[in-house]
């Protein structure tokens, strides 16, 4: 297989968000920097975090909101769009989290 073909396959594959996040350099903390009080999410109509979190940290499983902080890109979107103030948001400490090199 030529390198062009292998490259093609790589880019053409519909990426799962995790595949994409794996391209980055990480040093994820074992302590979460964002805490979500999901009890406030049950009657939230829009749940804008689900579509707008660029890292797919908010997912719906059986219409229940699940949050995982591990792939967080530290953008601040969820903090801004959450209509229920369910999110206690901060940056990671000690240089943890994502380490950008080419952005």
């Amino acid at each position: 297989m030529s390198s062009r073909e292998s490259g093609n396959q790589q880019l053409l594959k519909i990426q799962r968000i995790d595949d994409l996040l794996q391209r980055n350099l990480w040093d994820v903390d074992h302590r979460p920097h964002i805490v979500v009080d999901t009890s406030r999410c049950t009657d939230c109509e829009y749940k804008p975090c689900v579509l707008l979190c660029p890292a797919g940290c908010y997912t719906l499983v059986d219409s229940k909101l699940l949050f995982s902080y591990e792939g967080c890109l530290e953008c601040g979107t969820c903090r801004t769009v959450c209509p229920r103030e369910a999110i206690t948001w901060n940056y990671p400490v000690s240089g943890r989290g994502v380490l950008y090199r080419f952005s």
Partner: protein, 427 residues
């Protein structure tokens, strides 16, 4: 143990690093604190920096900065229904360059360190300390550090200013989300595919399909051996109208049948996201300095988004420079009062090209809010072009093509012309 510096700068982005450099250069004992590891590791932008204001602060920018390519071609395109309508502009002049902000910021942080600033990374500042109505230092991890003056360069997420009551809690109306992929393609392939010379680059803005017709835009910048592609959506509309995940939009851009030829054999080397300010004028805090504190860069609302370009990094650098100049004056006078700092910083900034730019473009920001502008007009434009260029038997006049496209999309010709007129005046 109380540690004391003359000046503390919070956040080593382009704004903070520049301020620290200029302060240290003047012999002021300066601490630059950054939450990220190393230099520039939390930095994200679209792709290009305008050089003129940067050159005033760093005369060696052309010789020593990590410049990837000089933007000699500008392109603006509307994408819809497998059609692309574009405006292209070429110039031999070096007015702006592409780079990675991570690299550019490192370049400034190095300068600050060489000038004698103390750089501490991996430290998240938890609060800016206020005592008796005066800023006296910072607190991080339970430790306090004092200074005569603090410069807040924390960027768009103003956790510290919010705590101080100097900024409101961020609302979706004020910001846009950008998500970006960097794809390594190789320098030769970039030159060949985009038709570029060795060190010349392309800045390409796109609307319509790439944002799923949401207010915002997509971008493509050519770096030395990679391309940066991404999507920016205004949160206010995206909250209600987004139909798929933002990373899906970036992926669609990457896989777009008419675009992917440029990078399809490349490798994605990074995926990043960051908020950006949507209206600098509205985002600006009520005051840009208080007793012992100066606010610079994004935290001060210094960002211009005209729809066809972004300016934030050059503004950040320039505001960092103005802040350092004001601080130097304050040290000479031994006076760090709100009055003196506002007189020497805020007034200068509000009289500078930055504030003038922001005032000048408020009209455009209003347009950028009109959903119609992104939802319907790209479609009408492409439809009209299709009627003009894709001829069968009949050859319509421009007016006829436009009229019938407007009709198809239920837009009144008069209101369309009025809006266009209004827009041209505001641009």
């Amino acid at each position: 143990m109380a540690t004391k510096f003359d000046a503390i700068v919070v956040g080593a982005g382009p704004a903070g690093a520049t301020a620290a450099y200029k302060l240290a250069e003047a012999g002021i004992k300066t601490l630059l604190v950054e939450r990220g590891r190393g230099r520039g590791s939390k930095q994200v932008f679209g792709g290009r920096i305008y050089v003129t204001p940067v050159r005033e602060v760093f005369p060696d920018v052309e010789k020593t900065a990590p410049i990837h390519r000089w933007v000699k071609r500008e392109k603006i395109s509307i994408l819809h229904n497998s059609r692309i309508l574009s405006l292209e502009y070429e110039s031999p002049e070096k007015h702006s360059f592409t780079t990675y902000l991570t690299e550019f910021t490192s370049w400034i942080v190095d300068k600050a360190i060489n000038a004698g600033a103390v750089y501490v990374d991996e430290v998240r500042v938890d609060s800016i300390v206020e005592e008796d109505g005066r800023i006296t230092g910072i607190e991080a991890g339970g430790e306090r550090i004092e200074a005569s003056i603090v410069i807040d360069a924390e960027g768009v997420n103003r956790l510290l200013l919010e705590k101080l009551g100097l900024a409101e809690r961020l609302s979706p109306e004020e910001v846009a989300l950008g998500a970006k992929e960097v794809i390594k393609v190789g320098a030769d392939k970039i030159n060949e595919r985009f038709g570029l010379e060795e060190d010349s680059g392309l800045a390409w803005l796109l609307v319509g399909e790439p944002t799923d017709y949401l207010p915002g835009g997509a971008f493509i910048y050519t770096n030395r051996d990679s391309v940066s592609i991404g999507v920016v959506v205004y949160l206010a509309t995206a909250v209600k109208k987004a139909r798929e995940e933002i990373y899906r939009l970036v992926e669609k851009l990457r896989l777009h049948p008419q675009l992917r030829q440029y990078w399809e054999d490349g490798d994605i080397i990074e995926y990043s996201a960051h908020l950006t300010i949507e209206s600098g004028r509205r985002f600006m805090p009520r005051k840009l300095a208080t007793s012992g504190l100066i606010v610079v860069g994004d935290a001060a609302g210094l960002l211009l988004n005209t729809g066809y370009t972004f300016r934030g990094v050059d503004y950040a650098v320039y505001s960092g420079y103005l802040a350092a100049e004001a601080a130097k004056k304050a040290f000479n006078l031994g006076d760090f009062s709100e009055e003196t700092l506002r007189e020497n910083y805020e007034k200068k900034l509000l009289g500078s090209f930055i504030a003038k730019d922001l005032r000048n473009h408020t009209g455009v920001e209003q347009i950028m809010h009109e959903v119609e502008f992104f939802e319907k007009y790209p479609v009408v434009a492409i439809d009209t072009a299709r009627k003009l260029f894709e001829l069968g038997y009949e050859t319509p006049r421009i007016q006829e093509a436009l009229r019938s496209s407007l009709k198809t999309h239920h837009i009144n010709l008069l209101s369309f012309l009025y809006k266009m007129f209004k827009m041209v005046r505001k641009l």
